[in-house]
Symmetry: C2
Subunit: 340 residues, 2 copies
């Protein structure tokens, strides 16, 4: 017996597509000054949010995003069958400590900045598979904790090249259910690791772009969808450099997505006035753009069918010091307002 819901090589189609029943997003000050400021549930005044460390602030953001999303769904936390979460910090401490008190069965994930699509993918599978009534998908990132861990101490004040991206301070949470009136998650295309040899940790967009192109191309092959079937195809955090590369790579395979293609790292900041170089990045980037902007535009009917493609760079400072290139991954999730 072949798996009933497989579609092509890397895609599944849900028989009873899970519905997004609520979302929540919490962002930092800079993100709250950007073009999407009216879409977020909470904008912090500073990087610490009353905590002693940036890491604890990030944990608090994740926890409060989950609690806010579940509360908006008019449900108690105890109704959540599973939470799927991960983040960028070593050993995923912002997730682990963030959800410690929530008392929800927990599947920990690591997909770097692909985590929002990774968590949505598996959460949707547990619901359509009959294992859960409610599942939460969540992730976070924090500019200060990420810079300290991956690059330099902030106090060092190093210059950043123009290809570098600005890690979003933000946490997003999405509640899925086998009940609900949409938007629905209908398809998931799970990515493979793609590594074309980029070694520059200040050019993550270029490192992740081949994986994004691979997953998007496979998605269309597996589903038979065409780019214009979507109102929007939006990658996670390729930003300016990576987005161009994806369009080129797909163009060379006669797949033109330029009509309705954008990137979360390009919409979250106003690059002219906010000086983020290539654009935004971090797990929180695609998470808050989805939980804030995209979800609300879908509810308004301004977007009816989107392909959400979060992208991750799977290196560590240690692997880079040991001369390794940067493996990329991208997972794609189809979200649509109506079924059939």
């Amino acid at each position: 017996m072949a798996a009933a819901k497989k579609l092509g090589k890397q895609t599944v189609r849900f028989q009873t597509p899970p519905s997004i029943i609520s979302t929540a997003s919490i962002v930092g000050k800079k993100e709250g000054e950007g073009p999407l400021k009216n879409y977020f549930d909470k904008i912090l005044d500073d990087a610490h949010w009353g905590e002693k460390t940036w890491e604890k602030a990030e944990s608090k953001m994740l926890r409060e995003a989950v609690i806010t999303a579940v509360t908006k769904a008019n449900l108690p936390l105890s109704k959540m069958d599973y939470i799927f979460a991960g983040d960028l910090l070593n050993q995923c401490i912002s997730s682990n400590f963030g959800i410690r008190e929530l008392n929800i069965p927990f599947f920990g994930l690591y997909g770097a900045c692909s985590t929002m699509a990774l968590s949505l993918s598996i959460a949707a599978m547990t619901i359509d598979g009959g294992f859960a009534d409610y599942a939460v998908a969540a992730t976070s990132s924090h500019f200060c904790s990420a810079e300290r861990q991956f690059r330099f101490p902030l106090e060092y004040g190093g210059q950043r090249p123009q290809t570098s991206q600005w890690t979003v301070t933000g946490a997003g949470a999405v509640v899925l259910s086998n009940q609900g009136n949409g938007p629905y998650i209908t398809h998931v295309t799970t990515g493979k690791i793609v590594d074309l040899g980029i070694k520059d940790a200040n050019n993550m967009g270029a490192a992740m772009a081949p994986a994004a192109a691979d997953t998007i191309y496979t998605h269309f092959e597996d589903t038979g969808f065409k780019p214009d079937d979507y109102d929007l195809i939006i990658t996670g955090d390729l930003a300016g450099v990576g987005k161009e590369i994806v369009q080129e790579l797909l163009g060379s395979k006669a797949c033109d997505i330029s009509n309705n293609f954008n990137d979360c790292g390009l919409v979250i900041f106003d690059n002219k006035s906010q000086d983020t170089h290539a654009g935004g990045s971090g797990c929180g980037c695609s998470a808050v753009v989805l939980a804030g902007y995209l979800y609300k535009e879908m509810l308004k009917g301004n977007l009816n069918k989107i392909l959400f493609v979060a992208t991750g760079a799977l290196m560590s400072p240690t692997s880079s010091l040991q001369g390794e290139s940067i493996p990329g991954i991208a997972h794609a999730v189809t979200i649509q307002n109506t079924l059939g």
Copy 2:
């Protein structure tokens, strides 16, 4: 409609239980000198296995374990619908780099030393849910890379307290399928984070024990099984200190598992002659004990029904430096030779 396969609070029962169709285990020299030496597929001569760094050696172990397991199933890698993997290293680089060339859709996980049960749980759900025909669950750890990252440089030669454990150098991979003649994964009990305030990173067994007790107790409540229904209840890497605490905690709730309870961290080394203090630990500990010893004893019929409970300590060096306690988690998987 309530989720069809939910059982109690945290457990699912599979309708078409996935079968383990093959496993592979690769271990280091010290593990290869222990009491389970005849159960492993490969024993390495040194900590580097021809690689320049311990991290690259760990990646290679993970990759070769996956390839060996799939090859033993007489299948090409291209038949694998998904691989679920994670490890202890920052940003899970041993998994990311290990499976980079395998070209299999990849879900990255982080569950610290609970990863073998975490990966098996989700892999089994994707198969029973109809999303996959074949899925691989894998993880690894390496004494040298773990000591460097979590504790001290090996060259420092620091003394270790008697409560400390010895990180296993090893990688295990398990191939699941909707075909096959068992052993089958029939139930999964997903853990919540439990943190009773232990702060001593040299006493991980004590930190994880409350989570293990919580998951085991919930498993019996949810399923109606009794301890004596199992031939063996085996935790991941609580070792000597943690195992005693689990028995005490469960005993205080009138749940006596002492007849058939053991821990992977206690069976992998001969503690008298190999001087590992409290016992073995690391993602690789429960992975190679399952993929080597337990699976083969099940095939022989010496074990017919086991509860495999891998346990994870979800802290990082940063969280410990910031004064945090150690959150624990444990996931339980029922594996049995016959159905019904």
